[in-house]
Symmetry: C2
Subunit: 382 residues, 2 copies
């Protein structure tokens, strides 16, 4: 492992730590933003992957730029940083409405999501009692993947009418092609993207024919965002993991390995020469327990090992314990434990960037323009 | 779901949150401590599961009580709380020696672990340069599971002689029967426990015959600790997850479901009546990505769902996204989505307590003696 071409701090900071490659991060953002703009829509980035105000500054051009969050802790954190257009894209639980209302009182345009009459009732009741008007998105099911209402369902109109003008505005509809993560060809992703848009357009037509404007049509998942061929009538595209990508996205075919902007830096702590094993200090506490590539075309174990310049070494983090990782070297003798001296370092690309980032409170940033250390913070909790 | 028999705060705190059942926690500790004492040894608890000073106070009787940690962040955290006998049970990386030395200067008896001549050399070099004497454990391999030196190996004596009196004291030997987590019968665990003890006794005999005292023989893993039939000559037994247990340990046969002291409290946020799915706000961010029961005799998905009194409902958290969990109800109609109203709560037992606890910064404690809320903090980072 050469230590050249990389700044000293990369070799000195306590390991394991999470590293963001700023040049790749920026390139990934530019790629999707330009693509979606070209199709006449805008990106409402999902901030759940890194949950970081500093990281979000690359994504949100101004305070009104639309953003998506997965927890109220994120909504509060990004609101405190000045962002005012936040879609909380997890079905609302009634007891969370007071926190949403508090953010609205601070001038933040928080949108909530729901897909049941029970939730709609809780929203209108709370709105009446507390004299607030909620901005609501109704979730549309486009692929049976998770939640949402089928676009042709009667319940959709029932919920929309239950809400509109009764303490709530149906601000929009939301669809998420979760099944696109399981696609194995570009054509399959294109079909998923078409389904996602078609489902939400059908739902919107029905709701609008019922006299409810529901102005915002929000679709997206990282794979469909990169393969949609048209976005006619689609107001915005949500995507999250596209900023860093990961090995799951590489397996889906959405990115190259050299696009992956997130890795974990780890130190070699021992060897088993007989078994040709290298031990590192990145266990599942640093990588997460995510085995998202296990069912994919290539199984990368707990991650793909790279040298400190970020070049893949064609060897995986095979096994992890809490604070131990084992790199089982290939039987062909192309690499030996002597290639990984005790104390040397490697970078490990993750299966699933969202899960790996969740194990860290800070991210170190390899800046594109200078060698100085820089650290971003994660918003923690719920 | 009845809300009776449980304190109000359990139904009011923001979800998801991690809950510790104090009575079960204490009972699990008493069980193992009494067992090991009866066999003439002591428990050196591994604090990595909860990484909490408050939780450790149930395990460490006084400042000198032996403890095990998996990171230097834990060593520093527990040292700050006054504990002075800490085994850092992950192979030492050379760059971590200054932090160890700083703790030693504060009067903390920190023991480091290694299993290669390279590490031993780094230790003696640092010791000579900085005039410190390290307390070292050498790791013995008893089952080919991870690291360690085979007890009959020449390298063992080489490392011991490399260290002893040269800036280090070989304080002891350590073995960990990691393979015991894969045992499927009590007899298999007994065999693993015997192997663990036999391997370390053989290694100790050889090191002692070479004139090096290595006074402490440390064995352990939660399964072997509960099934060892004798601990002749064994100074101490390490175990970690025994305090809370989990579904993996239940699958191994070490505990009953009603012994599991850790659960995640989650709110129902929606339904899919056609599919008989219940959505909750515990995704893998709250449960972890651990699928440790996938290969076991019973696969509990991402966790076993219980009512708020902690009674198992014979239904699992089938699927998780980052902040969504899906409970797929059984096809036999024994439970319907109406049994889980939007806004109601469930408790979910984890596959792997260490991994689930790692997703939380605080733990809420259901106290045995009173209804008051109590919170424990986790030590974070590396």
């Amino acid at each position: 492992m050469s230590v050249k071409l990389t700044p000293d701090w990369l070799h000195q900071l306590e390991t394991p730590f999470l590293l963001i490659d700023e040049a790749r991060y920026q390139r990934n953002i530019d790629r999707l933003y330009q693509r979606v703009a070209h199709l006449g829509s805008v990106v409402r980035p999902h901030l759940k992957t890194l949950r970081s105000v500093e990281a979000a500054s690359y994504l949100l051009k101004n305070a009104e730029h639309p953003a998506t969050v997965s927890t109220l802790a994120e909504a509060e954190g990004f609101a405190a940083a000045g962002y005012r257009n936040l879609l909380y894209a997890v079905g609302i639980a009634p007891h969370k409405l007071p926190r949403v209302a508090r953010l609205m009182q601070q001038g933040v345009d928080v949108h909530i999501l729901l897909d049941t009459p029970e939730q709609a009732q809780a929203v209108t009741e709370f709105a009446r009692q507390h004299d607030v008007i909620f901005s609501v998105f109704i979730e549309i099911d486009c692929d049976g993947h998770r939640g949402g209402i089928p676009p042709e369902s009667e319940v959709l109109l029932q919920i929309a009418q239950q809400l509109e003008g009764k303490g709530a505005v149906v601000r929009g509809l939301l669809a998420h092609a979760g099944e696109s993560y399981n696609c194995r060809s570009e054509e399959a992703i294109r079909v998923a993207a078409r389904n996602e848009c078609d489902a939400i357009r059908l739902a919107a037509r029905r709701v609008r024919e019922a006299g409810i404007a529901c102005p915002i049509l929000s679709v997206g998942a990282t794979p469909t965002a990169h393969y949609a061929e048209e976005l006619e009538g689609i107001s915005e595209v949500r995507a999250g993991v596209f900023t860093t990508f990961d090995l799951v996205m590489h397996n889906v075919g959405v990115c190259q390995k050299q696009d992956i902007a997130l890795s974990v830096v780890s130190t070699v702590i021992g060897h088993n020469s007989e078994k040709n094993w290298v031990f590192v200090d990145a266990g599942w506490m640093a990588m997460s327990r995510d085995r998202g590539t296990a069912a994919g075309p290539v199984d990368y174990g707990y991650g793909l090992v790279c040298d400190m310049q970020g070049n893949p070494l064609d060897v995986c983090l095979s096994t992890t314990n809490q604070e131990h990782g084992i790199i089982a070297l290939p039987a062909d003798g192309s690499l030996s434990v002597q290639d990984f001296p005790v104390g040397s370092r490697v970078r490990i690309l993750p299966n699933h960037a969202c899960a790996t980032a969740a194990m860290h409170q800070q991210y170190q940033v390899l800046q594109a323009e200078n060698d100085q250390p820089l650290s971003w913070s994660r918003i923690i909790g719920w």
